[in-house]
């Protein structure tokens, strides 16, 4: 095992919220398959500006999948502002640590979520 914590392994083996939201309110895509990791986050935002649903698709190593899963869980039910405050470090901490060499390249979940929220906000402001 690449020295993954039990929590990482759990989220990798049983990832939460995998998938796509057909009529997503926002979509965020980060990373690049060339580098090894790519994540797409889909969000659904309710009237209170809360994340009523979060889903993801991830191409990447075990850590990348676990990170995506953890971020989706952490974000669900949060307000957009709260969700935007989720940092890479928060995610790593919730996962009980990531191997040092995976901290940077695979820990893109918070970024992808942020992109999805900004996508939603852009669309909304355009829609206005």
């Amino acid at each position: 095992m690449p020295q993954y914590s039990d929590t990482v392994m759990d989220h990798f083996m049983n990832p939460r919220n995998v998938g796509e939201i057909e009529d997503a309110d926002g979509i965020g895509e980060v990373g690049n398959p060339v580098c090894g990791d790519m994540m797409t986050f889909y969000i659904k935002v309710d009237d209170d500006e809360r994340l009523s649903d979060v889903k993801f698709k991830t191409f990447g190593c075990g850590a990348a999948i676990a990170v995506s899963s953890m971020v989706s869980e952490m974000a669900k039910g949060k307000t957009l502002d709260e969700a935007l405050k989720i940092t890479r470090d928060d995610v790593a901490r919730q996962l009980e640590g990531l191997p040092p060499n995976k901290m940077h390249c695979s820990n893109l979940g918070a970024d992808a979520l942020g992109e999805a929220i900004r996508d939603y906000q852009n669309k909304k402001s355009e829609g206005n």
Binding site: G36, F59, G60, C61, A63, K102
Partner: protein, 393 residues
């Protein structure tokens, strides 16, 4: 749970017969082969017997074998040692772009010291063209180093032809046979090579043992100075048990080569036939025919190697991958890149390396457990998503 070890490229177990010959040299016959008193006798004799056996695997004179701590040391000694010793003659070295890191990075170190290195490109099967070696030769070329076969993709190189080029141009030719020796017949005189690297742990010998054969007359600068063991070309107290083990492993590899190879080839061919039938969007990497008997390497599209490895491990199957995530440097395989496999596809690389204890049942098991794993990861993959949405062209 069924355990299916298919990562013999990463490590092989030490055979019981090999262990059996090693143990006395740790316990009762623990002496130093350099000792003049009788405690030195058995270790010295065993070391020389091991030298004969290792030499036998490649048809070399035993006194031309330099024992090392492994394949990496052998390659560094060859590439740096031969180049340094010839630095008054020239400072140009030719290698292939698919060499093992121990040759590739040794050559890069030479560059830091004023050498020039030509890295010969390969075709999409990873095969080097002997003509490009001939074209790369310059007046100041002091070494050509091209591996006998690549472990990652299995491709066997035309080293006989490259040796002919080197002979014509009178340039020493080293070949890294770590992945090949014991699995394809190698005779240094038939090839016409000048130096050749071996590792014990590819042939069911212990880790920590290897050898470099260097033809008499080829000058080489040692990496280790010291008590002038190994004719002064590799000082340091000899790892007697390890080298005795390597000797036995080499002997067994010679004796059983035919049988081992046909067994390995059957399993390899079975997997190469059945996996693409069970899994769409998977491609064989390396040469379709001219490949190591134990090697079945693939690239699985739309997903990344580490995830497959972990899920396979969860079903009891051990394999490896050349994906960036599975590498220490987090870089995709330079070998797959050299074969011009697009990087996102190279990320899905899977290497099955068969061993002498594998069976048809092992292949069946892999063909059973791998497709759902791949399907599962593809369902998570945004790349697969796109592919499907774009109509799966």
């Amino acid at each position: 749970m069924r355990k299916v070890y298919l990562d013999h490229y990463a490590a092989t177990p030490v055979l019981p017969e090999v262990m059996g010959e090693m143990l006395p040299f740790m316990e009762s016959d623990f002496g130093n082969p350099s000792s003049i008193h009788s405690w030195g006798d058995k270790p010295r004799e065993a070391l020389e017997a091991a030298r004969i056996r290792v030499a036998g695997l490649i048809g070399a004179p035993p006194e031309e074998i330099i024992f090392t701590s492994g394949g990496t040391e052998a390659n560094n000694l060859a590439v740096k040692g031969i180049s340094w010793a010839a630095r008054k003659k020239g400072n140009h070295v030719i290698i292939s772009s698919v060499e093992h890191f121990s040759v590739l990075h040794a050559a890069s170190t030479l560059e830091k010291f004023g050498f020039e290195v030509t890295r010969i490109e390969v075709d999409k099967h990873g095969t080097i063209n002997p003509d490009s070696v001939a074209d790369a030769v310059r007046d100041n070329t002091v070494l050509i180093s091209v591996m006998t076969a690549n472990g990652e993709i299995g491709t066997i190189q035309p080293i006989n032809e490259i040796a002919r080029v080197s002979a014509e141009k009178k340039i020493p030719f080293h070949t890294d046979a770590v992945a090949a020796a014991g699995y394809i017949p190698i005779n240094i005189n038939e090839i016409g090579v000048d130096a050749l690297s071996l590792a014990s742990d590819m042939i069911y010998g212990p880790k920590g043992a290897g050898a470099l054969w260097v033809r008499r007359g080829i000058r080489i600068m040692p990496l280790f100075d010291g008590g002038t063991q190994e004719g002064g070309r590799r000082s340091g107290t000899e790892n007697v048990p390890g080298l005795v083990g390597m000797g036995k492993a080499a002997e067994l590899a010679s004796l059983n080569m035919k049988e081992r190879v046909s067994r390995l080839e059957n399993l390899r061919d079975l997997l190469i036939e059945r996996l693409p039938a069970a899994i769409p969007h998977i491609r064989l990497t390396g040469h379709p025919d001219n490949r190591l008997p134990w090697n079945a390497s693939f690239a699985v599209e739309f997903i990344e190697g580490e995830g497959m490895l972990l899920l396979l491990d969860n079903t009891g199957v051990a394999v490896s991958s050349g994906s960036a995530c599975t590498s220490r440097a987090l870089k995709g395989s330079h070998v797959l890149t050299a074969c011009e496999i697009p990087p996102e596809i190279a990320q899905g690389s899977l290497l099955f390396s068969f061993g002498i204890d594998n069976s048809v049942e092992d292949v069946n098991y892999v063909v059973e457990v791998l497709p759902p794993i791949i399907e599962r990861l593809r369902q998570m993959s945004p790349l697969y998503d796109k592919f499907v949405k774009e109509g799966g062209k």
